[in-house]
Symmetry: C2
């Protein structure tokens, strides 16, 4: 695509975003209900397109990637139900979150509004399109979507449904959802920091890191998930065993699986037992000199696999320092029965999610009750931790007066008495 | 400073931030009360240092810059009162903003926490140091401060007070507030995106723009303030006159002063009258071909002075398009008596603050009832519009269970029935 063509597409997205921001809750609900029904009604077409992708990808993709790429009727049903959930949820925009009487007749309102234009860059999963676009429509944001090449046909089939919605609902701006197919398109999009307000990369660490390096646009997400569990001297061993095994083995490829276990030196005997248990579950152990396993190469390592770093520490303080130093500030937990140790851990560890006597694997938008998840952020600003639809809105101040001017509130030193603000907050 | 020295300083700031995050509300209040008293008690020293700066700057600074640099007893009193206000305000961190029972015995809390390390880069005003540092201490953030060279002595005198606080309160980490003096220091700080979580530039558009260009760290602020007023066909002329004159002349150098007036074509006769009025107040008028004044060179212009661009438009839609296209999304207003025009303007203009029948000059943290202002942001994410202390905090999720694991919530297809989440929200 030429730079000029891309610029035009970005302008169209910006114009569409302004239009989407004005849609009413009921207009959006009608589109979302219809979207859900069309996804189900067109399942044969979707599966046919998906078969083409699968056929082409069979030899090149690893089995887990292949499984992610594959659609089936059950997955399509889940997608439909997901869109219906989004349709039913309360409108996240135009909510008044604060209201203040600044002075007689001068009112200030803070309300939620869409962010604008958001780019999403994702790998093989074709179900990202219906999930993300339902959230974007709900929150009034225009989307620029770059899917993986391997899911090209399926992605196109989903976009056909979007085009049909655009024809059926004439209040929908044509360019509110645009699909891009080439890797080069991403490079171009990432340069449009004047138009694109946010980038959400969903995929491998390498993908996220390369995007963060390349753009001035704010990126919502996380590059690493080096999560820790600290086994405190007071912890109940049965709990330790349950939680460590779950956090390491239930789904080791994901970002919230545990990568490093820190163990208080008083628990060495039970540690041997736990490590045997983990090894029976095919977990490879790497450790410090106390552990009696191959040495850890780098405490920053995210295995994303059945492997675990283990370190013996002398104190809770040492554990906290280790986590703040080597972790990725994503999700870290403590296993303890001591309320003081719990409080100290919660006050001292600087991560998006902290877990006490619970698996790190819970850190996820769906499990955290947000309905749908946009991503998990390790940013310190805007949105941190699992992000739901509230991460897709920003706010705007609305000031309504009756000819109020600032001069009236400023003493001019010539006998003019300045008015004073009331600043009375209501409905909060 | 060598890169190694700077790295050490950044590490100290990060360590200090972790410590600050654990301070209690009452510890912080004690420090802030003492800070306020010391600022007042040391006023003679502060004024003496300020005199040295003034003496050196006399020939090089413009009269308004010189006025900003100058401290006097009244200003110091205002600073003291400001710090006491901050001391009295509720603690912005460790507030529980959401609480949910995910399942029996598994609780999720969302609480506010400090952001971490924040760099503030500012020009001649030495009163920034006590203002910003009181807000930073209150919100538990470590500060890296780069002040203008012209205020060097005054800034150092304020830092002496901080050093005294650090000696008096041994729970204060030594490096929670660091002052930098050289322009080169800024270049180095802006590279530490791993440590510095946010940059707040306070100063000229050129300063802000150069910082935004140079760093990967999120920047809170605004480069431009191209603010508009739209004079709708239904507006009351007396209101138009009051508001336009205030928005243009009350303090033309600031970002929320109006730069462009858009006028509905039906109000040409009164426009002549208003323009004569403005010209009597020494406002230079630039316009389109209808206005009968020198032609506007560029509708993006921020005069920051007694000058105004004027454009005649055929409709409200044309005005909205103009603002979205040429504005800086800072503060824009409509003057109208028509509720439909008001609603359309509020739905269609994509700016941080929208004003109806009120001066754009109100867009400011103090006037918006936030107590102290950190800055005004035209970012779409994190904080938008005037930003108070809530822009200095982020949040953290705390999950507390009793050995809860994710496997229990996942069907394994071997007859194991998955537990279901309750997701019951409380106290919100």
């Amino acid at each position: 695509m030429t730079d000029r063509q891309m610029r035009r597409k970005m302008q169209n997205a910006a114009t569409a975003a302004l239009r989407l921001a004005t849609l009413s809750a009921s207009q959006k609900k009608r589109v979302l209900d219809r979207f859900a029904n069309l996804v189900w009604a067109e399942r044969a077409t979707l599966l046919r397109s998906n078969k083409k992708d699968l056929y082409r990808a069979e030899k090149s993709l690893s089995p887990p990637m292949f499984a992610r790429l594959k659609l089936d009727e059950a997955k399509i049903k889940t997608l439909r139900d997901g869109i219906l959930e989004v349709a039913k949820a309360p409108d996240p925009v135009h909510r008044v979150v604060d209201r203040m009487e600044l002075d007689r007749g001068l009112w200030l309102e803070k309300r939620t509004v869409p962010i604008g234009v958001i780019a999403v860059i994702f790998e093989s999963r074709p179900d990202v399109i219906p999930q993300i676009l339902s959230l974007f429509l709900k929150s009034g944001n225009a989307g620029l979507l770059k899917g993986g090449r391997e899911a090209r046909e399926t992605n196109r089939a989903f976009m056909k449904i979007i085009e049909r919605l655009n024809r059926e609902f004439d209040f929908l701006p044509a360019s509110w959802a645009q699909l891009f197919l080439e890797r080069r398109d991403v490079e171009q999009i990432l340069k449009h920091d004047e138009t694109v307000n946010l980038v959400i990369p969903r995929g491998s660490n390498a993908l996220v890191r390369s995007i963060m390096r390349k753009t001035k646009i704010p990126v919502l997400g996380h590059a690493d998930g080096v999560c820790h569990l600290y086994w405190d001297k007071s912890a109940d061993f049965a709990t330790v065993r349950r939680v460590v095994i779950d956090a390491k083995t239930q789904y080791p490829a994901v970002c919230n699986a545990v990568e490093t276990l820190l163990v208080h030196k008083s628990r060495m005997r039970e540690l041997r037992e736990l490590l045997r248990d983990l090894e029976r579950r095919e977990v490879k152990i790497f450790g410090d000199s106390m552990v009696g396993a191959p040495r850890v190469r780098d405490w920053h390592t995210e295995y994303g696999d059945l492997a675990l770093s283990v370190r013996v520490v002398k104190s809770l303080d040492e554990a906290i320092d280790h986590i703040n130093r080597y972790g990725s500030h994503h999700t870290d937990g403590i296993l303890t029965r001591d309320p003081r140790a719990q409080a100290k851990f919660l006050a001292g560890v600087d991560s998006a999610t902290l877990a006490v006597n619970a698996s790190t694997r819970f850190a996820d938008g769906y499990r955290f009750g947000m309905g749908a998840e946009v991503g998990i952020s390790t940013n310190k600003i805007h949105a941190r931790g699992p992000v739901g639809v509230e991460g897709l809105v920003t706010h705007q101040y609305i000031l309504v007066g009756k000819g109020h001017i600032v001069s009236d509130y400023v003493a001019n030193g010539k006998g003019h008495v300045a008015r004073r603000f009331i600043h009375r907050r209501v409905n909060r």
